[in-house]
Homo-oligomer: 472 residues x 2
C-alpha cells in the first residue's frame, strides 16, 4: 500500500510538472493509461487513480471514449490553492460562530441578497400555494386541525413514493418518515447512525449547515476531495471506508450546494456500491434534486438495493421554505430513525401535508418544478456572465447543473471574508467560501445566490462587488 | 443518615400499622409532630418526613393550620399496591414497544376513543382557527411563504412573553425559542442538559412520552414518588439532588398528566429553590397549563430567578394538535439549546406563528381557553361520575384540577393491560396504567380521556368497561 501510494503521488507530481512546464499543453491529449503504466512501470490501476486525482484538481479532462486531455484554460484555473487533497484527516468542526456571523444579515430587508441560497419570491407561485393551503384547510378542516399519524398523511406519502417509480429500486411508502424540513431529516439520520466522537465523510466544499450539524453533535468531519463536476473522489472515499475511518458519509449527488454538480448515474451507483460493500451508511441530502435543469436526476437512493442510503429531502428550496416539510427514507435504519423522530416531535404538522398531497396529485408541483428549472438555468447563466464581466481576470465559475448558486473562484490574493465585510458595508450580502469547509480551504471562493432574475439593482451590486474584488 | 433513614422507615411503618389496626381511625387527628418526636425520640424533621411519606401514600391528610388526620376512606384507597416508594433507584426505561402497542389503535376512526389525552374536535373552534389561518396567509403571504427567523416571528414571541407579565420572574422575548410542538422542546432540553447514561428524575406516574424520550435517548429514569394532589415528593427529590443522582428533573406542575394535580405556588417555588440550590436543571412540561380549571396557574418557571428552569409548552392540547407549534424558554441553557434547535430543523414553520400571533393579539385565544377550562371541568366531573357508577366498588378517581384525563384506580385484582385487550375487542380504546412508569407500577390503574362531552355512545362504552372490570 505505502509503496503504491508513493508511486501514485510521485507520478501525479511528474504529470503535473510536465503540464505546468508546457510539455503537454491545454487541450492536448495525454498518453494512454496503458502507455503510462509502461513508462512508469506501475499498474494500470495506479495510473487511473493518478488521472482521477488530476481531474479532481482540474488539471485534466477525462472524456469517455476519447481519451485524457490537458484541461482547457478555464478548467485549469481550478487548480487548488491552499488545498492538499490527499490524504485528509478527520477534524473537529468549529464554524458555527463564523456561520452565525455571516448569516446574521440574511433577514435584513434593505440589503441586496446574494448570500442565502434560495429562489426568489418573485419566481415562486406563492399566491397559488397559499390559495391551495386555504382550500385544503376548508375542505379537510378536521384533518388539518388534528394530529397526523406519525407515518405521515397517506395521500401525501403515496405521492412521495410515486416520485420514485422510475428508480431501479423505488422508495416504498412504508419506508417514508415525514420531517420538519430536510435538516431535521439529516440530523435524525446522523443521530441514527453515528455517535459523539465519530467521523463523517463529507464533500469539500459542502453545505455549511451539514458542517454545523457535525459541530453541534460533536462528530468529526473527514473532507473528501470533491470534483467540481463529478463529485466526491470515490477513490479517497473508498480508502476511508476501507480503513474504517468513518461511520457515515453525507453526500449530495444532485445540484450539489455550493458546487452545482450532478453526479453521473454511474458514479451514483458506484457510491452506493461502496457504501454497501463497506457497510457505511450514506446520508443523501437531495434538497436541490428537483432543480436539476436537465430534469429527472435520480438520487443515489435510486440504486440502493441494500437499504444503506438514508435519503433526505424537502420542499424548502423547490417550493416553500416557510412550510418546513421534509421527508426521509431511511432504508435499513428505519426503526431507529423513526423512534428518534417520534420523540423529537411526535409527528409533523398536518396542513402542509394536505397541501402537498394536493399540489402533487393535481400535477401542479411537477409542472412548477419544470418551469423553475428553466428559470434557474437562465438566471444562473446570466448571473455568472454578469459576475465574470465585473470581476477581475482569474475569476472562475463553472455553470451549475441545477440549483441557484454560483461557486465563484477568485484570484488567490482575494480573501472572501474581507470581501464579505466590504460588501456588507455597501449593502450587499454574500457568503464567503471558508465556511464550506472545516479546514483552511476555499478562502478565495464565494458563493453567490442566483435565485433572483437579473435586474438593474442586482447588476449594480455585482458590479460593485467586482470593483471591490479588483481593489485587492 | 443511615440511622435517620432507618428511624424514618421504622416510624412510618409503626404509624401505618396503627392506622391499619384501627388505633387511629379515618378522619381522626394524629398526635402533633412535636408529640410524636418525643414519643419516638427522633427529630421533628424525621416526623415531618414520615408524615410526608404517609401523605403521598394516601394514608393521612395534612391540613395546613389544622393538623394531621387519618385519610378518609376515599383517600385511603390510594394506598399503593405494588409500589415501594422509598428509596427508588435509577432504571433503564424499556416501554416503547408496549406504548406503540397501546397507541396503535388511536387513529382508528370506528373505535370509542378513551385512550388518547385530547379535548375532542367538537369542543374546539376548528372552523375559526382555520379561517384565521386562511386570513393570515392572505394578508401576510410573503411571510407565510418565507423562512421565519430562528428567533421566531416577532409578533408571536411578543405575545408569548406577554403571557408571563404576571410572573414574579417574567419570561423575556429573547429567551424564547420556537419549536415543533412541546415534545421537540422537551427533547431539546434533555439533549441540552443530559448525556447518554445520565439519570433524570421524573414523576410517577408520568406522561409516557417523557419515558419513551428517556428510553430512546438512553437516559435512565429515577421515579420520584408523586402525590395525587401535591406532586413530586420534594423530600425524596432533594435527596436525589443532594447525592448527585440525577442530571435533570422533568416535571409538570399544572394539570399533570395523568394525575391531574396542580402544585401549589409554595411547592413550585420550593421546587425551583431546590433545583437552584443543587444546580439541577428543571425541565418543565407545561402543556396542560392553560387548561387548569381555576385559571391563571403559574408554572414553576414563574419563580425561576436563576434560570435553572427550561420551560416547554405548546398549543397542541389547548388549541390545535396538528399545528405542531411549541416553544421553550431555556433560561441559562439558551445558547446550547438554540444550537441544537437550529441544526435539528433550522427554524419553525411560518404560517402557524402568524396564526398564533393573530389569535393571541385579538384576545381570541385567551377567551377560548377560558371557555375550554369550564367545558373540561364539566366533562371530567361527569365522566368521573359515570365511571364511578359503572365500575366495581373500590374504584377510585380524584377529580383533576385541569386537563381532560382521569387516572382511574381499580381494585387490585384488575390488571388494566388485560382490560385494554378486552376493551379493544369491544371497540373501546383505553390506556393502561403500567406505561406511566418505567417500573412495575400502576398495573391496576387506567387513564381515561374525558376530552369528549358525555353522550350516549360514551356512556355505553363506560358501562361496558365497567362490566368488563366487574368480570375480573
Amino acid at each position: 500500500m505505502a509503496h503504491e501510494r508513493f508511486l501514485y503521488e510521485s507520478i501525479s507530481q511528474q504529470l503535473r510538472n510536465q503540464i505546468r512546464s508546457g510539455t503537454y499543453r491545454a487541450g492536448e491529449r495525454l498518453p494512454s493509461v496503458r502507455r503510462l503504466s509502461q513508462v512508469f512501470g506501475v499498474s494500470i490501476n495506479t495510473v487511473v487513480q493518478c488521472f482521477r486525482q488530476l481531474e479532481i484538481d482540474g488539471i485534466i479532462d477525462i472524456r469517455p471514449r476519447s481519451g485524457v486531455f490537458v484541461a482547457s484554460a478555464s478548467a485549469a484555473r481550478h487548480q487548488p490553492t491552499t488545498v492538499t487533497h490527499f490524504p485528509s484527516l478527520p477534524v473537529e468542526v468549529s464554524l458555527s460562530e463564523d456561520i452565525l456571523h455571516y448569516m446574521e444579515p440574511h433577514m435584513e430587508e434593505h440589503l441586496v441578497h446574494l448570500g442565502i441560497a434560495l429562489p426568489a419570491r418573485e419566481i415562486m407561485p406563492i399566491e397559488r400555494i397559499l390559495r391551495s393551503l386555504r382550500e385544503v384547510t376548508r375542505k379537510h378542516a378536521l384533518q388539518a386541525w388534528d394530529y397526523m399519524h406519525p407515518h405521515g398523511h397517506d395521500a401525501f406519502t403515496h405521492q412521495l413514493a410515486r416520485r420514485s417509480l422510475n428508480y431501479p429500486v423505488p422508495i416504498t411508502q412504508e419506508d417514508l418518515i415525514i420531517t420538519n424540513g430536510c435538516m431535521e431529516a439529516i440530523e435524525l439520520a446522523l443521530r441514527t447512525v453515528t455517535r459523539r466522537g465519530d467521523t463523517v465523510a463529507v464533500e469539500t466544499p459542502t453545505y455549511y449547515g451539514a458542517l454545523v450539524a457535525l459541530e453541534v453533535m460533536q462528530r468529526k468531519a473527514l473532507e473528501i476531495p470533491t470534483h467540481y463536476r463529478d463529485g466526491m473522489c470515490l477513490y479517497t472515499l473508498e480508502q476511508a471506508f476501507k480503513h474504517g475511518r468513518v461511520s457515515a458519509c453525507l453526500v449530495s449527488c444532485n445540484a450539489q450546494n455550493p458546487l452545482g454538480f450532478t453526479m453521473s448515474a454511474e458514479r451514483k451507483r458506484k457510491l452506493v456500491e461502496l457504501a454497501t460493500r463497506y457497510s457505511v451508511p450514506l446520508i443523501e441530502n437531495d434538497i436541490w434534486g428537483d432543480t436539476v435543469y436537465a430534469g429527472n436526476a435520480l438520487p443515489a437512493k435510486a440504486y440502493d438495493e441494500a437499504g444503506m442510503v438514508i435519503y433526505c429531502n424537502s420542499f424548502s428550496k423547490s417550493l416553500m421554505p416557510g412550510m418546513r416539510l421534509g421527508w426521509v427514507a431511511p432504508g435499513r435504519f428505519h426503526h431507529r430513525l423513526r423512534e428518534l423522530k417520534q420523540i423529537s416531535s411526535i409527528t409533523t404538522a398536518s396542513a402542509p401535508q394536505l397541501l402537498m398531497a394536493r399540489l402533487m396529485e393535481s400535477g401542479f408541483y411537477a409542472q412548477h418544478v419544470q418551469q423553475l428549472r428553466r428559470q434557474l438555468a437562465v438566471q444562473t447563466r446570466e448571473t455568472a456572465a454578469a459576475v465574470l464581466e465585473a470581476f477581475p481576470a482569474g475569476t472562475r465559475i463553472d455553470t451549475p447543473t441545477g440549483g441557484c448558486v454560483l461557486w465563484v473562484g477568485l484570484p488567490n490574493r482575494i480573501d472572501s471574508r474581507v470581501l464579505f465585510d466590504r460588501a456588507l458595508t455597501n449593502g450587499i450580502h454574500i457568503f464567503p467560501g471558508n465556511v464550506f469547509s472545516a479546514g483552511p480551504r476555499h478562502f478565495n471562493y464565494l458563493r453567490l445566490n442566483a435565485g433572483t432574475p437579473i435586474n438593474a439593482r442586482l447588476h449594480q451590486a455585482i458590479n460593485q462587488l467586482g470593483e471591490m474584488a479588483r481593489a485587492f
